[in-house]
Point group: C2
């Protein structure tokens, strides 16, 4: 990670496998150990490293607790180990005799250095090596495993060489690795048509979302919405008096980033909602958008935090020739930047006090990198299990930088990856590339900003396949929920990815009778989430493998736990219109399947099961019935009697 | 290179291309420059870096002189550049007007800061931006290229960010990159059968070797040979009184590493030889083998430099159960190591005083890494054009480490790479892998220690093909000359790579009448070396590309200069017995050839030329006539009239 500049990431209980090249001049034997400790501790713990091939060594340790660990590698030339190796190879009696004399010196010296019983034992053994027993007996005493272990324990490390850097790994909450997000606008949650929703209304959604398998409920900003330059429906510049505006235009006379839009309820209501959500196993995630409406209190209280133009106005957001006059970005080049940073930190700290620990940060790439590294570190002092999702739809290296700086999860390009080649390349990069050590993708098929062309025109098969892919490709995924459940797919205009009548600018109420009705994806989503919960292979990004299929419309990939105790194989028909069929060419190793043995694939979506054999198997998917197979792979079957049936 | 720990390598006049990822938060524009200087200088020189794609920037500089250079990258957010970008995109008059006001402030501020005419010019321009000309004229003044250049020159770099490390590149003598080695034993050079050769005898070889195209003449150790435990002919332990022993058993009563074996001549003779060689464009390279015969003066003078065993004897070299009792290695773990290092340095310095600047170091991997880094640095203070060839036939990472520590060139595994797959993989690694920045391979088809199975049984075709491959795959190559010229191929016993009657233990005289006779490879070697001299593509390792051929016995590769001004295409029949034929699948891009145009391939070995077209062309090689094509590729031909003929 940039030469040790940044820590890698794990979640609590995961293993860190460390490999190092360790070698020296000459022919002497090396010993090599992995050293690790919780940050702040002074003493190292040690794990052995084993030589693989070509001077590569490997060891591992587990990060058992939340927080930062450090690790490094230590190696030394071990004369006893070299000597023991030689002793095993000498043949002639004169050579063995002389070798034992040398060994007795080596062991005797350590015996003198070491206190107590251990020192005594070594001193005695040294004497025995040149003692009265016959040569072969003494040779075996020299090669004795117990002697080797004791000598390793007391090896002379005065010339040991360390890697020289203490590398870091941050152990995070399990939900950093495996989470299922549902985004909704609380203001649309009222059961009464036309009425502004409240946090109280949201409470009635909790049992439903928990049943559907969501564990993060994410709200767009819940603060007072600016009135100056407020946007009207469909992003118009001519709002009516009742228009609710965009929640991302934060701040008005009613308050700013630490206030709640009065129409949603009180701070007390919010705390109650957070508490009730927790009882359902759900975390409330807040959207932190560090920008201000023109009437945000900061503008008057801290004019230095904004950029002023020669005409005496505040610089609003712009991307020439476009202008966003309802949004004032902070000027992070202000001389008063330290106070600005402190205030921003206090926003996160405030919501943590209200029980929130998951934050989706809006456009973090337009705020200082240095601030994020500092701020995330500070916040984790308060809540080590805090989770930050970066909403940075920008260039790859910037997205990766944010992840290195501490962002727990990141939005991705998934929404725009449609073809088999695109998806395969992207997944291989994310799940097998070096970035997987720190960049945790969170796949969203839609967001309030992103109604892709695929969703606009693909119909129910695409809504189903894009959901299953998001849910099975990466362990973190989310949907902009009510719109996805209802398969909303009409854009504001041709060529746009904006929803028609977007909830960003108006209320959009969807009653439970619709959401739970026959045209909803509710049951399908519930099934997919249940499959995620029951299959550990889907709870990590690391075990993914692409498999070949001789049809460009069929994508096939597997996910497996490290020991293949759980293996999922997904086959997707990317074509929403026609039945597609083809032959797989499976990498059986990735499935934990032996070439000579048949194996069962059990479709967790339909309950069907098939007996497959070898890499080549026939698949056929009618998108209008079910565009995806999500197979659990069961190997080690010998006869039909071994077949297992189970639900999910 | 290990995070900047080691410098990369170039030769004088070569270009260093530097790429860097440079990006920042936000939407501001960056400027990025490459900074470089000769080590020891304080001021940086600068070269522009241009943005490629995905936040990757590229710049370059030339290393014009011998020695170490440093370089780093500097980038800053440039508000003028951002402003200029925006100005170009505003459409409405009100936006342009305001933008010009902002620009006038930016330019005016710099104008005040900068002294003299330049400051005056900028101040005036600032006034013009908000002056009386019409809007479009003022807009064009703002976008003016000259303004941009002046503003770049005086950009505010107070918040510029450097890469943070000063990376190193060592510029070496051109012969570090391109050299042609001939190894011979001076003691075998007498024209009188049975007589010990002398340096005077060697002088008569010089015109011949120069004509053959060799520019490095390398001698095994020229020091007094130990008498205690001296080896007899064919490595026997029972030498006769006239046996000359192994020159690697260094030291006797006659002297050690700074002495010359009296039978070879005097120091004066040696200096004369070095001088005469230089007149022929040849460097004499010495073999530095840091080990002692039991009667080396060091053993008595510095007993602390050796390891003593419990039985009171000195530890000789051993690899259980084998023992090498004629060789005492130094004990580098001696407390007196500093004196030992100094003495070793003085050996190199002594021979440099005699005019030597090229050293082949015997088994450097069994001496301390740290010593080499120090020693090579010290020696280069005396002779910046010194060249060190590492004879480390050991594990890859150790060979690479020696190269990183400063070894100029390295022996390789080439002698044992025989199949098309092996050669292709190895070449791709060496010529395209990251190691090429510091690891310069020197290919030897044979050495006095290495008579490969291929050479033992492959006959003349293999001697020819292995020579051409060594000479065209890597820019540095060498042969153990007299034995190669005469195609000596009889091993001491079955399964051994040792020559029968090896020159390592006895004189082996080969008269010029044989060496220049019809059974010699002299003329072929001369031709191959001439091709190397005339084709710059063969004088660097970097331009290599493997091409496909649909026959496993035919290897095809090209070498090209960076701008394709010189392109060589080699086709080798690896089968020494049978004619092999096949169709190429050439990567035309690597040849600088366009798909639609025919091109000429001119065989520099036979003079034949062919008109080829596209990637697929037929090749056929009869190993008994000529096992190799070495084509020069001539593209851009339109009619037969454009075809060029030339010799070599």
């Amino acid at each position: 990670m940039d030469g040790g500049r940044f820590p890698i990431k794990r979640t609590v209980g995961e293993v860190v496998v460390v490999e190092a090249d360790a070698f020296t001049d000459g022919h002497d034997a090396l010993c090599c150990v992995l050293q690790y400790r919780k940050a702040g501790e002074t003493a190292w713990q040690e794990a052995p490293m084993l030589a693989l091939v070509n001077d590569r060594w490997r060891g591992e340790f587990t990060v058992a607790e939340l927080g930062r660990y450090e690790y490094t590698v230590l190696a030394w030339v071990d004369h006893f180990k070299s000597w023991r190796h030689d002793l095993g190879r000498w043949v002639q009696a004169e050579d063995i005799t002389l070798s034992l004399r040398i060994g007795a010196e080596l062991v005797g010296k350590v015996g003198q250095r070491v206190a107590g019983m251990e020192g005594h034992w070594l001193t005695e053994r040294a004497a025995e090596l040149v003692g009265s027993q016959n040569l072969e007996q003494r040779r075996l005493l020299g090669l004795d495993e117990e002697l080797a272990q004791r000598m390793f324990r007391h090896a002379d490390r005065t010339l040991a060489l360390s890697y020289g850097k203490e590398l870091g790994v941050v152990a995070e909450d399990v939900r950093a690795r495996f989470s299922t997000w549902y985004e909704m606008f609380p203001r649309s949650c009222s059961p009464v048509p036309g009425k502004h929703g409240t946090f109280k209304d949201c409470e009635s959604w909790l049992p439903r979302l928990a049943t559907m398998g969501f564990d993060v409920l994410y709200f767009p900003p819940i603060h007072p919405v600016g009135r100056i330059n407020r946007k009207g429906k469909n992003n118009t510049l001519t709002p009516g008096p009742d228009d609710v505006g965009s929640p991302w235009a934060i701040g008005s006379a009613e308050g700013g980033h630490k206030s709640i839009l009065p129409a949603l309820g009180t701070l007390e209501d919010f705390r109650s909602l957070v508490q009730k959500a927790r009882e359902h196993g759900i975390d409330i995630a807040l959207d932190i958008a560090l920008q201000c409406a023109p009437d945000h209190p900061y503008v008057k209280e801290h004019p230095d935090w904004f950029r002023w133009r020669p005409d005496g106005t505040v610089q609003y957001a712009e991307n020439p020739p476009k202008k966003y006059q309802d949004i004032y970005p902070f000027n992070f080049e202000t001389a008063d930047w330290r106070a600005l940073w402190d205030e921003i930190k206090s926003i996160f700290a405030f919501w943590i006090e209200q029980g929130v620990r998951i934050f989706r940060v809006d456009n973090p790439h337009t705020k200082p990198f240095a601030m994020w590294e500092w701020l995330i570190g500070e916040i984790k002092q308060i809540r080590p299990d805090a989770i930050f999702l970066a909403e940075a739809f920008t260039r790859p290296k910037i997205m990766h930088r944010l992840a290195k700086l501490g962002y727990t999860q990141s939005y991705t390009y998934y929404a725009w990856r449609n073809t088999k080649w695109e998806l395969g390349e992207y997944l291989t990069e994310l799940c097998q590339g070096p970035g997987r050590e720190y960049f945790r993708p969170n796949f969203w098929p839609n967001t309030p900003d992103i109604l892709t062309e695929a969703l606009q025109f693909g119909g129910r098969p695409i809504f189903m396949s894009r959901l299953v892919m998001a849910a099975t490709m990466t362990a973190n995924y989310g949907i902009y929920g009510p719109a996805y459940e209802m398969m909303e797919h009409v854009a504001v205009k041709h060529g746009s990815e904006e929803y028609l009548d977007s909830e960003k600018y108006q209320l959009r109420q969807r009653g439970f009778q619709d959401l739970d009705g026959p045209d909803s994806l509710r049951e399908f989503i519930t099934l997919v989430n249940r499959i995620r919960q029951r299959n550990p292979a889907l709870q990590s990004d690391w075990g993914l493998q692409i498999h070949l299929v001789d049809n460009e419309q069929i994508l096939c990939y597997s996910k497996a736990t490290a020991n293949h105790s759980n293996v999922i194989l997904v086959v997707v028909n990317l074509d929403p219109n026609y039945t597609q069929a083809g032959w797989t060419n499976l990498k059986l190793e990735a499935l934990g399947v032996e070439l000579s043995q048949p194996f069962q694939v059990h479709d967790l979506l339909t309950g069907a099961h098939y007996i497959w054999n070898g890499p080549r198997n026939y698949v056929e998917l009618n998108p209008h019935r079910m565009p995806v197979h999500v197979f659990r792979v069961l190997s080690g079957l010998h006869t039909e009697r071994d077949f297992v049936t189970f639900d999910g």
